[in-house]
């Protein structure tokens, strides 16, 4: 039975003819490689760049309107986020799966990547949302303190701003947790199942 299957398999002729033009393929893989490199560069730039670009914008607005020191409290938070993302990206780069890895090694690396992404999103409150929120609220709090003679009105204004920010940031937090549940967790389970099926005869990892 096995020999018959092997013979048929090895001498198989598909009901379809698949033809490749080597020159075209070569041009395409080169084009694709350039696109890939550009995509990675743009992604890194976008993730870190948003925080970096906001800093001069913040200074411009603050100087133009002669705003007090508390306006700039968000700048350290933006620097922290840009630095955190950049260091995280650099640290994760060597651990990405590479073509030519064994199947097991590739799955292990992909799993580690997905788990790291889950960790990042689960902790987005601590490294992203809370520093920004705290920085953003310093200025309205300072203003409320300066206008404390107005009484309840300025306090209500501050409460309104705080509530709005918390709503917006709460929604961003929820979106991140939704992505973990809907995209990353299923992918992690799939990778764990694949790794499990490679390991299931009781073998431990050789990497």
């Amino acid at each position: 039975m096995d020999d018959e299957l092997k013979n048929a398999w090895q001498s198989q002729t598909s009901p379809q003819r698949l033809t490749l033009d080597a020159g075209l393929v070569l041009n395409e893989v080169r084009r694709n490689e350039r696109q890939f490199a550009a995509m990675i560069y743009c992604r890194d730039l976008r993730e870190v760049g948003v925080a970096v670009v906001l800093i001069p914008v913040w200074f411009y607005l603050g100087l133009k309107q002669s705003l007090p020191w508390s306006w700039y409290a968000v700048v350290p938070a933006l620097l922290w986020i840009a630095g955190f993302m950049m260091i995280d990206r650099i640290r994760q780069r060597p651990h990405q799966p590479k073509p030519g890895d064994t199947l097991r090694c590739s799955i292990e690396k992909s799993l580690a990547q997905v788990e790291h992404q889950i960790w990042l999103l689960r902790n987005v409150l601590w490294w992203y949302l809370l520093p920004i929120l705290a920085g953003l609220l310093v200025w309205p709090a300072h203003r409320t303190w300066q206008t404390r003679d107005d009484g309840w009105q300025s306090l209500a204004e501050f409460a309104g701003i705080t509530f709005t920010f918390i709503l917006v940031f709460g929604f961003i937090y929820w979106l991140n947790q939704y992505a973990v549940r809907k995209q990353l967790e299923p992918r992690r389970q799939e990778l764990q199942a694949l790794l499990g099926s490679l390991n299931e005869s009781g073998e431990t990892s050789s990497h």
Binding site: M1, D2, E4, L5, K6, A8, W9, Q10, S11, Q12, T13, S14, P15, Q16, R17, L18, T19, L20, D21, A22, L24, V25, L26, N27, E28, V29, R30, R31, N32, E33, P97, K98, P99, G100, D101, T102, L103, R104, C105, S106, I107, S110, R187, E190, L191, L194, S197, L198, N199, S201, E203, S206, H207
Partner: protein, 177 residues
């Protein structure tokens, strides 16, 4: 044969030679993991792209076919896992043309057997499907272990089970491509 890490000129030459000599292997992997024509073309393209990227890391320590299997199977499993991206090549890289049925009865029977084999392999768990592909192409246990990154003993255990499962499935599967 020991091959030096591919430099610019040799990278292109080596890639072209791989296309000539091993494209059948790529098509087999694509046909296993991507049942429809559109998906298959997409997967072939992705495997070729990954093969090109893998060239600087190829040092000739592994057999070429073993290396290509590694890249192809990794890509096929990752492709299956993630969203399918229909790449837009400027020109179609892969021409798929339906062939007329062969008049030769033996050839027709063989085609049917192969089609059933593909259909059965697709029903196997993914790792087992990968293992059966390697087995059918007559790779040694050492080579299979090298592609999958597991021990030869583990290959033996898994292959035994996968072959039994495949034999059962072959009795049940309807005809498929």
């Amino acid at each position: 044969m020991i091959v030096q890490p591919a430099a610019d000129g040799s990278r292109e030459a080596l890639f072209k030679r791989w296309l000539e000599q091993h494209s059948g292997l790529v098509f087999k992997v694509a046909r296993t993991f991507a049942p429809s024509d559109a998906d298959r073309a997409d997967l072939v393209q992705e495997i070729l792209l990954q093969l090109w990227r893998s060239l600087p890391r190829f040092e000739g320590k592994a057999k070429e076919s073993t290396w290509i299997y590694r890249v192809a199977l990794n890509t096929a499993l990752a492709w299956h896992r993630s969203e399918k991206k229909h790449r837009t090549a400027q020109s179609p890289l892969l021409a798929i043309e339906e062939l007329p049925e062969s008049d030769d009865l033996a050839a027709r029977e063989r085609e049917e057997l192969v089609a059933n084999l593909y259909a059965a392999i697709r029903l196997l768990p993914k790792v087992d499907a990968a293992l059966v592909l390697l087995y059918l192409d007559d790779l040694s246990y050492r080579e299979m272990a090298d592609v999958l990154g597991i021990s030869e003993t583990n290959v033996g255990v898994k292959l035994n089970r996968a072959r039994k499962e495949l034999a059962e499935l072959m009795k049940e599967v309807p005809h498929g491509r």
